[in-house]
């Protein structure tokens, strides 16, 4: 492991093989799995209301998620906005779901079970782009 010398804060640690590893797992207090089931990259997340500023156990990233998910965002988009790995976002989302601060909508999980109206809507949408 090497400290990325270009970073003046010395905060970003980089594993030669794996990339940045320290910060995200500090944020999740070492957890790599969310407190509840599997969360897809396109699972949509929406806030159910503002989080109390002093909610115990929540870090700044939790509050950012609640804020940006006032309009529904996918796990992938949250990951991109926070510049955090998707796995870290899943753990943080588990905390927020436990507290009832966000609601999740899982996508259809099997190819071939999407309804035909969905295909038609997507086709029409693409054609009019």
């Amino acid at each position: 492991m090497t400290n990325l010398s270009g970073d003046p804060t010395g905060e970003q640690w980089i594993d030669d093989e794996a990339g940045r590893i320290v910060r995200p797992y500090v944020m999740t207090r070492g957890r790599t799995q969310p407190s509840r089931g599997k969360i897809d990259l396109i699972t949509l997340v929406v806030s159910t209301g503002p989080a109390a500023a002093a909610e115990p156990g929540l870090g700044p990233e939790h509050h950012v998620i609640v804020k940006i998910c006032e309009r529904p965002l996918s796990v992938a988009e949250i990951s991109a906005h926070l510049d955090l790995p998707a796995g870290t976002v899943r753990v943080l989302l588990g905390d927020l779901v436990d507290r009832g601060l966000v609601a999740l909508q899982e996508p259809v999980q099997e190819t071939g079970v999407l309804d035909l109206e969905t295909y038609k809507a997507v086709l029409n949408g693409l054609r009019t782009l």
Binding site: I21, G87, T111, E117
Partner: protein, 204 residues
């Protein structure tokens, strides 16, 4: 999952249905270019990490045991009315990233395999993967300016594709071209869906 509470809370806001389409292909084939040309914003980036859960379960051939593997993916979003949102994921073509593919392919509407005729073999793993998994896919040949032009039939033969898999020529930089590719894929996926489950009701 505390689905009771989630459902009730989600009921306050009508959430769109999220759909994903994978854009696969070898390094430099034009995946991110296509995502960017047709999405409503510039491509965003997310990162998946292979954690302990996969070890000993997934096929890790080519990946040394107990090593963290990270893969970055560029993706884009296309909002379709208020009811649907389409996500396009550029997926790296190398086999060692299959742990990500399995998750991405789950529930995907279909996949575009981008072929670069200068390095056609780079898209073999993607073609094999989607064929084996039964994910509807098409091949989009990205016509690079400096690449020799081939006929669709030649490419079809070189890739040993089943006759029903569409092959289209495209320029991933051009929105209209990328749009045509996606429309071709969704039409193909819809036809495949009708063949496998024609008896399904039209609405959920």
């Amino acid at each position: 999952m505390d689905s009771g509470r989630s459902d009730r809370d989600a009921g306050r806001v009508k959430l769109p249905t999220a759909i994903k389409i994978l854009i696969a292909g070898g390094f430099g084939a034009g995946k991110t270019t296509m995502v960017g040309s047709v999405s409503e914003t510039r491509p965003l980036r997310t990162e998946e990490t292979l954690t302990d859960r996969g070890v000993g379960v997934d096929d890790l051939s080519g990946v040394e045991a107990k090593r963290t593997t990270t893969v970055a993916m560029d993706f884009g979003r296309i909002s379709i009315g208020a009811d649907h949102v389409l996500y396009l994921f550029g997926t790296p073509g190398q086999q060692r990233f299959w742990f990500v593919w399995d998750e991405l392919a789950l529930g995907a509407m279909g996949a575009v395999v981008i072929a670069d005729t200068r390095r056609l073999a780079d898209c073999f793993p993607s073609v094999d993967y989607f064929e084996r998994r039964g994910t509807p896919f098409i091949v989009a040949v990205n016509c690079f300016d400096d690449a020799k032009r081939y006929e669709v039939a030649e490419i079809r033969m070189a890739l040993d594709l089943p006759p029903d898999v569409p092959v289209v020529l495209c320029d991933a930089r051009v929105k209209e071209s990328s749009k045509t590719v996606l429309v071709t894929l969704v039409e193909h996926a819809m036809a495949a869906r009708l063949r496998t489950r024609p008896e399904q009701p039209v609405t959920r």
